[in-house]
Symmetry: C2
Subunit: 184 residues, 2 copies
Amino acid sequence: MPYHHGDLRRTLLDAALVAIAEHGPVAVSLRELARRAGVSHAAPTHHFRDKTGLLTAVAAEGWTLLADALDAVTDREFSEMGVAYVVFATTHPAHFAVMRTPGLVHADDPALVAAQQRAGRSLQTEPDGAARDRATALAGWSLVHGLSALLLEGLVAPDPGSDVEALARAVTGRLGRPLPRRQG
Amino acid sequence: MPYHHGDLRRTLLDAALVAIAEHGPVAVSLRELARRAGVSHAAPTHHFRDKTGLLTAVAAEGWTLLADALDAVTDREFSEMGVAYVVFATTHPAHFAVMRTPGLVHADDPALVAAQQRAGRSLQTEPDGAARDRATALAGWSLVHGLSALLLEGLVAPDPGSDVEALARAVTGRLGRPLPRRQG
DNA sequence: CGGCAGGTCTTGTCATTGACAAGATGCCTC
DNA sequence: GAGGCATCTTGTCAATGACAAGACCTGCCG
């Protein structure tokens, strides 16, 4: 549709995701993205007001994809939802990094807020559609959000030969089970 | 000791903490910090190699303070350790923001790694000094790390009239207790 | 007492960046 | 076919991080 580029907005978002995956969300440069897309250094301005606007779009897309992933879980027991959360985070590291880094986005952006709320609603709903009580829902969210964060910060990694999904399953299984007192 | 400034290194770190609390760790500017400290724009270079070096120092200090806070917990049940973790995060938001934001620091800095490991050891130790099993320790760490992150990202806030400590206690109590099936 | 060595800070400079202003270019509608 | 508009370009500016070279103070050695 646009005359030079089939879809510059999408192209810039994709370039941003690549750049974030390579050097982190802090290091992205609008001019670098424009260069990779083959357009001039001011082209991104019209699609995203400024750099924060571009990252806001990435975050909103991330929350939407996360909500989609959660909605797609058929067995809506918390452990399965939690596994889906962690799998999303590790398979969309660029999105998740922007989503969880404060100060990068316009926090009051309507599209962003709406997407966040949709994901939140999905997480807080029980298998039969009832709402979980606050502390339980928050504990579950904290658990999977924290595991995702630790994985992406590199403070934790799955055992060799194992994978993220197995790790997430083991961890979510600890919620609501008695704590074993010893190693073993 | 230094001739112009009693302790420029500490002054810059404190200025950085203030700036991070105000505008987030991404927005800090070395030149701005130098201005606040009343020194020239190149003064910070000698104390911290570069901007990343300064943030690395902040992160290392943060992990050390966290380890100190965890070591100071006398009742070493996980719930109390977890409460201390969350209280640290919310009372040292600037430190914690740098600690949990990837790409800001030299991840392989020896002092940083050592401080991280000290905090990790403290968290993974049971009341009697035995090690927790991996999944349990990781679930606990994920839980409190995630709650801290959600609080600092502004995605969650304590109920009015309540406080962070009560919220943390309610959430850590869900680890190893049966999940209530319904609200109330 | 004199100077010398090194850590500390300053001045000067450069490429890069984000943001803005103004203009060019192609497409669509009336 | 002529205006109107979204899209993109060129040009510019202040701010920034990093680096180089030099000035300054301190403390130590002879």
